[in-house]
């Protein structure tokens, strides 16, 4: 079907028209919320369908007359970009539906402008994934950064949000500079910046490695890889919830797409040490992200750090895939890449679901810190149960999507002993152990997130009359929750989709082996490993049903209500429950060296004793502030050039004349 690229461009154009319509209806709140956003959601659904169709179709490209005369915009839809467009569109559909019900009157920028920025953001993400030449890619890449910057600073009256926006755009811009340099190296003196030409270039090892490291730096800055992650926990919580859902769920994935496009598509040769570097960086990011997520007090910062962790796992998967493909072990590389891409899809769904959950909680209670929430399952059942699905998926528990990608990742590690060099074999246990630890800690974080917010007693009075999510918001959340569950229960069908991508990137997919075994997910062969989530879920359900029937038939179902057990101390108050800091205290104690903990203990005889603990980020003190200091000092030195005295200026001019004359006649 030649549907492909043209249809997608039509949908993107429709999005932009919606945005402009919003601009003209700047303050007509009802029109924007109830007409434009749902229309955007419907368009997103259509886009998802097109991407699904395009996944297996052959690649087609189109050239638009706009852009530079010498380098007009090239757009190309191949299976890699179709897969990522599918992820973007599916999540955008849910988030747009949620946004229809979420935005209320009198908040930050007028709704029309918000609608414009929102739809430009969506359009630029899709076009980044479609771009087929360096100029189009860079333009769409930074338009994405710019539109998301304006969305982050929606209510810019608050200073923290402004600083978060500034830090975000700054690091995004520096990352973009890295990517531009990488394209520059890739074009290897041909001056032609279309991806087709970049693919044809044969770079010698040194320049290929330089391009690879630049790509890792550039896309790492946008994905939130370790040294460049500082903006993520600031920017995502600052944005309104639907936007942070899109940023965390989908925008980070465009960075993963970019990295895959360059390392696999544009650079034919790969070196094994590339895989080790990406693996190391990915794991460090994952461990760092999950430890910080476990000790956070603000619910949206907790989810932001958890995004860093998941991005780390994805990059670890990609690193392993590079390691395998550099040694020519294509089936193993396909397995590792399938694990990474599966995690991309499942993380996109459950993370955006969790952010939408926090959005609903934020609107009901206008409270973000975990210390002031609690017991919301009674007043907001819909949001609670949907967020439970998201939390379980994020914790990587069996019947849900998160577990399948983790299972595939661990399986691919078990095949690693096949790697030729002994040093790499030694790598396997350490890395597998780290991934297991990260997955377990993710479970810990999610229990803290769900337990402190939704369960127990409400820690503030005003929580009692929190209203549940509205109609549109429920539709959005249920759509995302359904997708998470389907990803968990039907891995074989999802992997059939992913095979088109791994087939393009690595040559082979898991397809033939997986499809033969019906309901069971069998990566290599039945003897080695298999996992049937449907049967697994049926087993648990059967156990549940039999127990329930056994009890009700043989015995009885009578229940009585009474006050909870207070162990003889009648004045139990909600404040006695475990607070967020309390729940994170063991992690803070065990991972002390990783964190920069400042404790403020009350001294004896304090009028109001107060205990305050703040956890900082080492990178901020050891990397970002020294860099700012160096720039400041350099500026000081350069500032001496302009000291105000006219005779000094004349001297500069005189010396320049003499200097040029000497140089010219040398």
């Amino acid at each position: 079907m030649s549907l492909g690229v043209e249809a997608i461009l039509v949908v993107v154009a429709a999005w932009l028209v919606l945005g402009l319509a919003g601009l003209f209806a700047l303050h007509r709140f009802w029109f924007v919320a109830r007409v434009l956003f749902p229309a955007g959601g419907a368009l997103a659904l259509a886009l998802a369908a097109i991407a699904l169709a395009g996944l297996h179709a052959s690649a087609e490209s189109v050239v638009l007359p706009i852009g530079l005369p010498s380098l007009p915009f090239h757009f190309r839809l191949d299976s890699l970009s179709a897969f990522f467009i599918l992820a973007i569109a599916a999540v955008a559909a849910g988030v747009s539906a949620f946004a229809a019900g979420y935005f209320r009157r009198g908040e930050g920028t007028p709704p029309g402008l918000l609608c414009l920025q929102y739809h430009v953001f969506l359009a630029s993400m899709v076009l980044v994934v479609l771009a087929d030449d360096a100029y189009a890619f860079m333009v769409m890449w930074e338009t994405m950064a710019l539109s998301s910057f304006f969305l982050v600073t929606t209510n810019h009256r608050i200073p923290e949000i402004r600083n978060a926006g500034y830090l975000y755009l700054l690091i995004a811009h520096i990352g973009a500079i890295g990517i531009l340099l990488c394209f520059g190296v890739l074009q290897a003196d041909t001056g032609d910046y279309t991806f087709a030409n970049l693919r044809a270039q044969q770079l010698e090892p040194f320049w290929a490695s330089v391009a690879f490291l630049l790509a890792l730096f550039g896309f790492g800055a946008k994905a939130g890889i370790l040294p460049l992650h500082v903006w993520l926990p600031e920017a995502h919580p600052a944005a309104p919830s639907p936007v942070s859902a899109l940023m965390s769920g989908v925008m980070l994935k465009t960075a993963v797409y970019g990295f895959l496009r360059i390392t696999y598509d544009l650079m034919p040769t790969q070196f094994w040490w590339w895989g080790v570097v990406v693996l190391a960086v990915g794991l460090a990011t994952a461990l760092f992200g999950v430890v910080f997520a476990a000790i956070q007090v603000d619910m949206k910062r907790l989810l932001a750090y958890s995004s860093i962790e998941n991005i780390g796992l994805i990059f670890a998967g990609i690193g392993l895939a590079i390691l395998f493909s550099s040694f020519g072990m294509q089936p193993m590389a396909a397995l590792a890449l399938t694990a990474a891409l599966y995690h991309v899809l499942s993380h996109a769904f459950f993370k955006s679901l969790l952010f939408l959950g926090t959005g609903a909680v934020l609107h009901a209670t206008s409270e973000r810190s975990l210390g002031k929430l609690g017991g919301l399952i009674r007043t907001m059942p819909w949001v609670a149960w949907v967020s439970l699905i998201g939390a379980l998926a994020s914790a990587g528990l069996p019947p849900f999507g998160g577990f399948v990608s983790e299972w595939l990742l661990l399986q691919s590690f078990l095949f690693a002993p096949g790697l030729p060099t002994a040093f790499l074999n030694m790598l396997v246990p350490a890395v597998a152990a780290l991934i297991a630890l990260v997955a377990a800690l993710a479970g810990y974080t999610m229990v803290k997130f769900f337990g402190v917010i939704f369960l127990g007693q409400p820690r503030e009075e005003k929580l009692a009359h929190a209203r549940d999510a509205g109609g549109w918001e429920r539709i959005g959340m249920v759509w995302l929750a359904g997708a998470s569950v389907l990803l968990g229960v039907l891995p074989v069908q999802v992997i059939a989709l992913i095979d088109a991508v791994t087939g393009q990137l690595v040559g082979t997919g898991l397809g033939p082996v997986v499809s033969r075994s019906g309901w069971l997910l069998v990566p290599v062969d039945i003897e080695r490993a298999s996992y049937g989530p449907a049967i697994f879920l049926a087993g648990v359900a059967l156990g549940f049903g039999l127990a329930y029937a056994f009890v009700r038939q043989l015995y009885h179902g009578r229940t009585r209500r009474a006050a909870p057990w207070d162990c003889g101390y009648p004045w139990q108050t909600p404040r006695m429950q475990d607070s967020a800091e309390g729940f994170g205290q063991p992690i803070r104690q065990i991972f002390e060296p990783l964190l920069r903990v400042q404790r403020e203990l009350p001294r004896a005889g304090d009028a109001q004793p107060r205990y305050r603990v703040s956890v900082g980020d080492h990178f901020w003190y050891w990397l970002y502030q020294p860099v700012a200091l160096v720039v400041e000092r350099a500026a000081g030195i350069v500032g001496l050039l302009q000291q105000g005295r006219i005779s000094v200026y004349l001297l500069y001019s005189f010396l320049t004349v003499i200097g040029i004359l000497v140089w010219v006649t040398r």
């Binding site: 299972w407 246990p429 297991a436 490993a529 009585r560 009474a562 006050a563």
Partner: protein, 315 residues
């Protein structure tokens, strides 16, 4: 999906359900003898279960539907876990559905639900218990995974039935990697089943208990189910221990009558295991909660060492 397969699968689950309370009763009996006390009867656990099932279930007035659903989910998970681990025969139709990693995931699912249920009522003890349970969980789970990985590296597969078959057929030789994995596994099972060095199953002292704190609010049939699930968990862990380190005597695929021989061998092995567990408990004293991470960290390192020796020394 042969007939014997289904029969052995059902037999295995029923045996687990029946033998689990017996095993915990046997362990508490051994412990009493070793501590020169007169031991309760072997069938005491069955009587308590029957008593609890008959009583009304008293729920906290604030408890949500999650609180009421959690016992059934945990019981279902533990029953499935016992179904997956090959105790009587290795021809189990359920085993392709879940391999070693899925088993660890199953335990994690049960642990998460029981912790959430504990936090639901919103008293200090529930959240305290949940936090400690998750603390032990996030340290024990990777160690268990590493132990299972060591075994799967030896048998080139992560599906439990294949592991048992390969370990059973090789000639009797000392595997250093399996030895290290065995020590790590004992530490992990002590921690997971709330045995003495980490947590005292019999105590009701709020500040020290972990597992008890989780089920503090439950009563009547919910408490019965959770007690039964705890016994099932102990049974599952010992089954894993036997499967990995003493796999002989498990019935093979095509021999139904071997099934009859496997049952007594299983009971014998469980008896010895239970006695060994009771001996371990009487020897060791309960640790401070913040010594537990170091304790489990040693288990974690031992398991990783086991994998390393397996890969480097090939044994």
């Amino acid at each position: 999906m042969t007939l014997t397969g289904i029969a052995s699968q059902i037999l295995e689950v029923v045996a687990a359900l029946a033998l689990a309370p017996l095993l915990s009763g046997w362990v508490s009996q051994c412990r009493a003898w070793l501590q020169n006390k007169s031991a309760p009867s072997l069938l005491q656990p069955y009587r308590t279960l029957h008593k609890l099932f008959n009583k009304d279930s008293v729920l906290a007035d604030r408890a949500s539907s999650l609180f009421r659903a959690a016992p059934y989910i945990v019981f279902g998970c533990m029953a499935l876990a016992c179904g997956i681990v090959p105790t009587l025969s290795t021809e189990l139709p359920l085993s392709p559905a879940a391999d070693a990693i899925a088993l660890v995931g199953l335990f994690a699912l049960a642990r998460v639900f029981i912790s959430l249920a504990a936090m639901d009522v919103g008293t200090a003890f529930g959240t305290l218990g949940a936090r400690r349970e998750m603390l032990i969980g996030f340290l024990a789970e990777p160690a268990l995974l590493m132990v299972l990985f060591t075994a799967s590296l030896i048998s080139q597969s992560t599906s439990l039935t294949t592991i048992v078959e390969t370990l059973a057929h090789r000639e009797l030789a000392i595997y250093p990697s399996l030895a290290l994995a065995g020590v790590a596994f004992t530490i992990v099972s002590l921690a997971e089943n709330a045995r003495v060095p980490v947590d005292n199953p019999a105590t009701h002292l709020e500040l020290t208990m972990i597992h008890e704190a989780l089920i503090l609010e439950y009563s009547g049939r919910h408490l019965a189910l959770l007690e039964w699930a705890a016994a099932l968990k102990l049974f599952a862990y010992s089954a894993i221990g036997l499967a990995l380190f003493f796999p002989w005597g498990v019935a093979e695929a095509e021999s139904p009558l071997a099934l009859l021989l496997a049952a007594p061998v299983l009971v014998l092995k469980l008896g010895i295991g239970g006695a060994f567990l009771a001996a371990l408990e009487t020897v060791s004293a309960k640790m401070r909660i913040f010594r537990v991470p170091e304790f489990l960290a040693t288990a974690f390192l031992l398991a990783v060492m086991a994998m390393l020796t397996r890969i480097l020394l090939g044994a």
